[in-house]
C-alpha cells in the first residue's frame, strides 16, 4: 500500500508541470533543429568553419531534448497521468507495466514522438561517426537531416501534440488497443521506424552530393553502412510485423498485402535496390545519378507510407485515428521534401559523370538488372496500393486491389531476381565471361536442380512443376552463396573473408531460405473450419486434432477462454495447443491468440472461434509447411546486413580517403 500512495503523491506533484515541461522540451528541440538546419548550411555556403561546426552540438542538443520529452511521456504513462489526453486515450490503470511503456508509441501522437526521437538518434550517430568525413559534407548532411526533422517536429507540435491536457481529468483511461498488447508489437514499431527513418541518412547524403556536386567512390563508401543498417532494421521490422500478424490475427496468414504492409514493403524494395546500386557506385564509379535517385526514392517511400497510414486515404487494418488536417500537413511536407529534392536532382544530377565502363555481361550489368526488377516490383506494389485511390480520384469507379492481384503480378517480377542472385556474385566486374561463369557454377546449378526436385518430394511427398522451379531457384541462390564463401575460404583462409562478403552471402542464403518457405507454405498449406464438441476430433493433413474442452482464466486486464486441443499423428501425441480468445475488460474488445506448434519444417495452428450449440465450438485448423523458413530467411537477410556493416573498409576511411579525394577532383573535371 505505501508504495501505491507514494506513486500517487509523486503523480499529483509531477503532474502539475511535467507534461508542460515535455511540451517545452519539444519546442526547445525544434529551435535547436532550426539552428542545425540553417546555420551549418550557411557556413558551407559562406565558408565559415565555425558555422559549419555548429551542426554537431545542435544535433546533440536536439537529441537530448527529444529524449527528455520522450522520457516524460513514458513517465506519464507509468504513473497513469490521465490529465494528458494521449495517455488517457491509450492506457489505463490495469495495463501491465511493460505495455504502459510500449503504449507510448501505441497511437499517432506518441509514435510520431518516437519517430522524431529516432531521427534525432540517427542524426547524432552521423554526427559522431563522421569525424573523418570532409567538414562540408558532414555539415550539409546534418543540415538536411535537420530540415526533415523540422517538418516532423512542426507536424507534431501543430497537429498532434502528445502532451495536450484534458479537463476534467478522467478517473480511468480507455485502453491501449488490445491488438498492440503483444510482445511482438513491443519491438515491431521501433524496428520499423528505425528502418524508415534510417533511410533519411542516405537521403541526406544524396542531397549533400547534389548540393556539393561531389559524388565519388568515397561518397558511396560513406553512404553504404548507413543504408545497410537502415535496411537491416526495416527487414527486421517487417519480419516482426509478419510474425505478429500470424500469431495475433488468427487467420494463419503471414502477409496480407494490406496498404500498411505495402507502405513498409515499398521502401524495403527500393532500399534493397539502393544497397546494390551503391555497391556498383562504390566499386565502379557508375550509376551515380541512379543511386542518388534511389536514395531519394527510398526515403520518399517512407514518407509516403507515413502519409498513407496517418491520413486515412486508404482503408487499412492498422490505420491510426485519422484527421484530414494531418493529411494536408503531411502531404504539404511530402511535397516540399520530395518535390524539392527531385527538383534539385533534375538540376544537379546531369553533371554526374560515370568514371568507369562496363559490358552488359558483367557484375554491373547484372546488378542493374537486379535494380530494374526490384524497382519494378516496388512500382507494382505502389500501383496496386494506390490504384483504388487513383480510380476513385479520376471517377473511374470504386474497385479493390487485394492479394490475388499482388500474388499474380509480384511473383513473375521477383523470381528472376533469385536467378540473378546466383550469377552476380560469381561474375567479374567490368566484363564477365560466360564460359568462366559456367565453369564455376555448373555444379551449383546441377546440385540446385537436384535439390529442387528432391526436397519437396522427400519432405512433403508431393511436388509440382512450379514448386520444383521455385525451390530449385532458391537452392541456386543458397548454393552459389555458399560456393562464394567456400571458394574464398579454401583459397585464402576463412578468417580472411571480408565481413562484407560474409554479409552478402548470408543475405543471399537467407533469400533462398525465404523463397523455399514462401513457395512451400503457399503451395501446400491446408486449413479446415470445424465444429467440435469436447472429445471429438478432426483430421487435417494426417494430423488428428482432438478438442478436449475449454477453461477460463483471468489475465491482468483481460478474461480469457482457452481451448485445449491435443494434436497427434498415428498414436503419438505431439502437443497440446491452447488457442485463446481474450476479452479485454476496459473496452470489451475481443482478441485471438492462436495456438501454434512451431517446427522448422511445419507449423500446426489452431484458432478458437465461437461457442456453438451444446458444448461445441467452432475451430479453425491450419497446417503450414515450412512457415518458419519465411521468417528465418528474413532474419538471415537482416543478419547479413548486420555483418556487412562491420566490413573493415568502413572503419578506416582515412586511409583510402586521400587517394579517392584526388580521384574525385579529377573526376569533377570530366
Amino acid at each position: 500500500m505505501p508504495a501505491i500512495e507514494r506513486i500517487e503523491v509523486t503523480q499529483s506533484v509531477t503532474s502539475l508541470f511535467l507534461p508542460e515541461l515535455g511540451h517545452f522540451a519539444l519546442c526547445l528541440a525544434l529551435s535547436l533543429t532550426v539552428l542545425q538546419a540553417v546555420v551549418p548550411m550557411l557556413g558551407v555556403v559562406t565558408g565559415r568553419v565555425l558555422w559549419s561546426e555548429l551542426a554537431r552540438p545542435a544535433a546533440i542538443g536536439q537529441f537530448s531534448f527529444l529524449l527528455i520529452a520522450y522520457l516524460i511521456l513514458t513517465w506519464c504513462f507509468i504513473v497513469s497521468d490521465f490529465s494528458v489526453s494521449y495517455v488517457a486515450h491509450n492506457s489505463n490503470t490495469q495495463l501491465p507495466l511493460a505495455y504502459r511503456i510500449s503504449a507510448v508509441w501505441g497511437a499517432h501522437e506518441g509514435s510520431l514522438l518516437l519517430w522524431v526521437l529516432m531521427l534525432a538518434s540517427w542524426t547524432m550517430a552521423v554526427a559522431f561517426f563522421s569525424k573523418s568525413l570532409p567538414r562540408d559534407l558532414t555539415a550539409t548532411v546534418l543540415s538536411v537531416m535537420g530540415m526533415v526533422s523540422i517538418g516532423f517536429l512542426l507536424f507534431m507540435l501543430l497537429t498532434s501534440n502528445p502532451f495536450d491536457r484534458q479537463f476534467p481529468v478522467p478517473a480511468e483511461g480507455r485502453d491501449l488497443n488490445p491488438l498492440l498488447q503483444d510482445p511482438g508489437l513491443i519491438i515491431h514499431p521501433p524496428m520499423l521506424y528505425m528502418g524508415y527513418v534510417g533511410f533519411s541518412v542516405a537521403f541526406a547524403f544524396a542531397i549533400a552530393a547534389l548540393i556539393g556536386g561531389r559524388l565519388d567512390t568515397a561518397w558511396a563508401r560513406w553512404t553504404r553502412p548507413w543504408t545497410t543498417s537502415a535496411w537491416m532494421f526495416l527487414t527486421l521490422g517487417i519480419m516482426l510485423g509478419s510474425w505478429w500478424a500470424y500469431h495475433e490475427l488468427g487467420w494463419g496468414g503471414w502477409w496480407f498485402w494490406d496498404p500498411v504492409e505495402n507502405a513498409s514493403f515499398m521502401p524495403w524494395l527500393v532500399g534493397t535496390a539502393l544497397v546494390h546500386s551503391l555497391a556498383v557506385t562504390e566499386k565502379r564509379g557508375i550509376f551515380k545519378s541512379w543511386t542518388v535517385l534511389l536514395a531519394i526514392t527510398a526515403f520518399s517511400m517512407s514518407l509516403l507510407g507515413t502519409f498513407l497510414v496517418r491520413s486515412g486515404v486508404l482503408v487499412s487494418v492498422h490505420a491510426f485515428a485519422t484527421d484530414p488536417e494531418r493529411g494536408v500537413f503531411i502531404l504539404g511536407f511530402f511535397a516540399i521534401v520530395v518535390g524539392g529534392s527531385l527538383g534539385l536532382y533534375a538540376w544537379r544530377a546531369p553533371r554526374f559523370r560515370a568514371s568507369g565502363k562496363a559490358g552488359f555481361f558483367s557484375r554491373e550489368g547484372f546488378l542493374l538488372l537486379n535494380n530494374i526488377f526490384l524497382v519494378v516490383a516496388a512500382a507494382a506494389v505502389f500501383v496496386g496500393t494506390l490504384y483504388p485511390l487513383l480510380a476513385d480520384a479520376m471517377s473511374l469507379g470504386k474497385l479493390s486491389v487485394g492479394p490475388p492481384y499482388f500474388n499474380t503480378v509480384f511473383v513473375p517480377l521477383t523470381l528472376p531476381l533469385v536467378l540473378l542472385v546466383g550469377c552476380a556474385a560469381a561474375l567479374n566486374w567490368k566484363r564477365g565471361r560466360v564460359d568462366t561463369l559456367w565453369q564455376r557454377l555448373r555444379w551449383v546449378a546441377l546440385l540446385a536442380l537436384a535439390a529442387g526436385l528432391a526436397m519437396p518430394w522427400l519432405m512433403l511427398g508431393k511436388t509440382t512443376f512450379l514448386v520444383i522451379a521455385a525451390v530449385s531457384m532458391a537452392f541456386w541462390a543458397m548454393f552459389s552463396a555458399s560456393e562464394e564463401i567456400i571458394r574464398r575460404g579454401s583459397r585464402r583462409g576463412w578468417l580472411k573473408i571480408p565481413a562484407a562478403i560474409w554479409g552478402m552471402s548470408l543475405a543471399h542464403f537467407g533469400l533462398g531460405i525465404f523463397v523455399i518457405g514462401v513457395t512451400l507454405v503457399s503451395a501446400y498449406s491446408a486449413e479446415n473450419d470445424v465444429r467440435l464438441a469436447p472429445g471429438e476430433s478432426a483430421e487435417l493433413s494426417g494430423f488428428e486434432f482432438r478438442f478436449e474442452g475449454i477453461t477460463q482464466y483471468a489475465g491482468p486486464n483481460y478474461d480469457s477462454t482457452v481451448g485445449k486441443v491435443t494434436v497427434s499423428r498415428g498414436n503419438k501425441a505431439l502437443a497440446v495447443l491452447e488457442p485463446e480468445k481474450r476479452i479485454y475488460r476496459a473496452m470489451g474488445n475481443a482478441m485471438t491468440e492462436a495456438g501454434v506448434l512451431p517446427r522448422l519444417h511445419r507449423d500446426l495452428y489452431v484458432s478458437l472461434g465461437e461457442p456453438l450449440s451444446g458444448q461445441a465450438w467452432s475451430l479453425r485448423l491450419y497446417y503450414r509447411p515450412f512457415m518458419r523458413f519465411v521468417w528465418l530467411g528474413a532474419l538471415l537477410m537482416a543478419l547479413g546486413g548486420f555483418l556487412a556493416m562491420f566490413d573493415r573498409r568502413y572503419r578506416k576511411p582515412g586511409k583510402l580517403d586521400s587517394g579517392i579525394e584526388r580521384h574525385a577532383v579529377a573526376e569533377s573535371d570530366v
Binding site: S355, V383, A391, Y405, D529, M591, H663, V670
Partner: protein, 151 residues
Amino acid sequence: MRYWIAALCLGFGGLTLAEPPALHSGQEARYQALIEELRCLVCQNQNIAESNAPLAEDLRLQVAEMINAGRSDAEIKDYLVARYGDFVLYRPPFKPNTWLLWGGPFLLLVLGLVTAFRIFSGRRSETPDESVDQAALHKLLQGQSDQRNKS
C-alpha cells in the same frame, strides 16, 4: 460516416467463426478460394472469409448455396458484382479502367530492360571517347587491390 460502419465491424482482431455452411462434398476448396477473394463491405480490410460482420456471414451462406446449386465461380462473382460493384472483387477484373493496373508493371519492366540495354550498348560505343583520368583510375584500382590483398 466512418464511425458508423466501423461500429458494425466487431473488433477486427477477434476471429469469430460461425458455424460453416454445409457444402456438397468436394466443394470445400472452391468455396474457401472464392470467399477469400471477395471483399467484405462492412469490415473493408477483410475478405468475407475473415470478416465476422453479419453481412459477411450472409454472403458466405449465399456463396455456399450457389455452389451447391451448381453455379460457376464466374456466375457467383457476377451475382455479387451486380449488387455491390467491382468493389467486392479483391482480384480486379481486366477491363479498360484496370488496364494500367494489370499492364503497368510489365510495361515498366520492358521499358526498364530496354533502357538498360541502351545504356550498356551506348556506353560501350562511347568507351574510346570517354575521357577518364587514367592516373586517378589507376590509383583507385590500386587502392582496391591493396584492399583485396590486405583482406
